[in-house]
């Protein structure tokens, strides 16, 4: 099993959700996050005083998936979240040693 964690532009969230649902993924966790990468921040003015927005809002999505579909999911996320402009985000893939569905006690691929 793989844990796929993607940081994407918030306005792309709906498209990405649709794209992974089309592959048959049944669950996804979303968090509103802030951070910076190469895009860095920008400055704004409030009442004439400058302030730096160091951390830009992003959406973080997390999906636990079976190894068989992991590549397909990564590709779907990358294709839908891409605008070609700086700040599109990143996708991280990691191993999961175990997964348990709390209600039924199912484990492994059955649980994701």
């Amino acid at each position: 099993m793989k844990m796929i964690t993607a940081i994407i532009k918030p306005f792309k969230l709906d498209d990405v959700r649709q794209a992974v649902a089309d592959i048959g993924i049944q669950g996804i966790t979303v968090t509103e996050v802030k951070g910076f990468g190469r895009q860095r921040g920008h400055t704004e003015l409030y009442r004439g005083a400058e302030y730096v927005v160091d951390f830009l809002p992003k959406a973080k999505i997390e999906l636990a998936v079976d190894d068989a579909v992991a590549d397909q999911v990564v590709e779907a996320i990358a294709n839908t979240a891409r605008t070609g402009k700086i700040g599109d985000g990143k996708i991280f893939v990691s191993e999961i040693s175990e997964a348990i569905r709390i209600r039924t006690g199912e484990t492994g691929a059955e649980a994701v």
Binding site: E44, L45, Y46, R47, G48, A49, E50, Y51
Partner: protein, 427 residues
């Protein structure tokens, strides 16, 4: 013939009732300005200081009412009480006064209830004190602020109020201040400035290398609502200060005051918004809000003699001044989170001076000189008296919360609660 006399008496009594009613409704509108200040300030501070600024605003309003009843009113209007100030102090303020009877109304000795006058005046004191709370927001100790409120509303404000509206020397020398650009707004701003100078800036507002950091407010919908409530309340503030509505001349005057008050706010808002757009590159809502209030403060000293177009221009200049003043005070490292000193102080001064253009009895420079003397008198008295009180508070109980409390937010340290609690459980 007797019938005619009776009818004439009834008409006079009706006029008395109408003027009293008008006074009370205007007073209620001014009371509602407390809601405006409360919302404006709650919107322009950070979320962690919201509950405390709300407590401060409702608390200062109630304190102002009680102190003005006990001592303030009798200091400000000693002529209304037999035997002057000290006699009335013995009677505990307005509690010892009688109201008018029908005979006095018919004889023309009085045209509104004495207590309606008290009610109208008491909400003005609260307005002056509200101005202070925004400027010292996010870092002052709650109870030190309340202690200052007792002195300002019971003593400092009434003394200068007596000099003008109570028939004192500023009134006798021809100083004009219709509804209080000076007596109310400059007064509040001078007290606020003294407090801010002794209090210091919020932590993080000014960097070690001289940079000025913005600390954006947490809730701009509340700030906008507060401004519109103040705008509404100002019709009572200026309109009620005409003091009478019960004949054609007075009714027309009241209508003109309403129109001019509204136009000045509109002018102030538009020009503050335009200036911030051209200066900063974007339409800064908070500057537009301050601009509307600046227009209102600017017209308050004389809303009756300008034409609506001139009133718009007086307000517009107020709107331009307030934006410049907010930026300038920041450069001087005078930290005023809501812009109260700029709106009420700098523009209050402009309002007092602007009187000379439209109401000068044919002597512009003479009136301007009188206005300057009045302005300096009010500022000097309130600033020095307030500075002494703030200083004594600072040396005894302290006026500033600790650095850690400031970081955590004064909601927790002063009130023990949060405006927007999260992760609480009933256990």
């Amino acid at each position: 013939m007797d019938d005619l006399t009776t009818v004439a008496g009834q008409v006079t009594e009706l006029a008395y009732a109408l003027d009293t009613f008008y006074f009370l409704v205007c007073g209620a509108l001014v009371m509602w300005m407390a809601a405006g200040f409360t919302m404006l300030e709650a919107g322009l501070v950070r979320a962690k200081n919201t509950a405390e600024i709300l407590t401060k605003n409702v608390g200062l309003y109630a304190i102002a009412c009680i102190m003005y009843m006990l001592v303030g009113y009798s200091i400000m209007y000693p002529g209304d009480f037999e035997g002057g100030v000290f006699q009335s102090l013995a009677n505990i303020g307005v509690l010892g006064s009688d109201d008018n009877d029908a005979a006095a109304a018919i004889a023309g000795d009085a045209y509104y209830s004495n207590l309606s006058d008290f009610f109208f005046q008491v909400v003005f004191v609260a307005t002056a004190m509200s101005i202070v709370s925004g400027a010292v927001a996010e870092r002052m100790k709650l109870w030190s602020f309340f202690a200052f409120a007792v002195v300002l509303t019971g003593f400092i404000y009434p003394v200068q109020g007596f000099w003008k509206w109570g028939g004192g020397f500023l009134n006798e020398m021809g100083f004009l201040d219709f509804a209080g650009s000076g007596v109310v707004h400059l007064c509040g701003a001078a007290a606020a400035l003294a407090g801010v100078l002794l209090l210091g800036a919020r932590k993080g507002k000014y960097g070690s290398k001289g940079q000025i950091n913005a600390i954006p407010g947490c809730n701009l919908p509340l700030a906008a609502l507060g401004t519109l409530i103040l705008w509404l309340g100002w019709f009572g503030f200026n309109g009620g200060s005409e003091l009478k509505v019960s004949d054609v001349g007075e009714a027309n005057a009241v209508a003109l005051v309403f129109v001019n008050t509204n136009m000045a706010a509109a002018g102030g808002l538009v020009f503050a918004l335009l200036l911030s757009r051209f200066w900063f590159g974007k339409a800064d809502l908070t500057m537009a809000l301050n601009g509307a209030l600046a227009g209102l403060v600017a017209i308050t000293a004389e809303p009756l003699t300008p034409t609506p177009l001139v009133a718009t221009m007086i307000g517009a200049i107020g709107g331009l001044l307030v934006v410049g003043s907010i930026v300038a005070l920041d450069k001087l490292k005078i930290d005023d989170p809501v812009g109260a000193i700029s709106v009420h102080g700098v523009v209050g001064i402009w309002g007092l001076l602007a009187v000379s253009f439209t109401n000068n009895g044919g002597n512009f420079w003479g009136q301007l000189g009188t206005q300057v003397i009045g302005m300096i008198t009010i500022f000097a008295w309130v600033f020095i008296a307030s500075f002494i009180v703030w200083y004594l508070l600072k040396k005894t109980v302290g006026i500033r919360v600790s650095e850690e409390e400031e970081y955590e937010g004064v909601d927790i340290s002063e009130c023990g609660l949060e405006a927007y609690p999260e992760f609480t459980s009933a256990e």
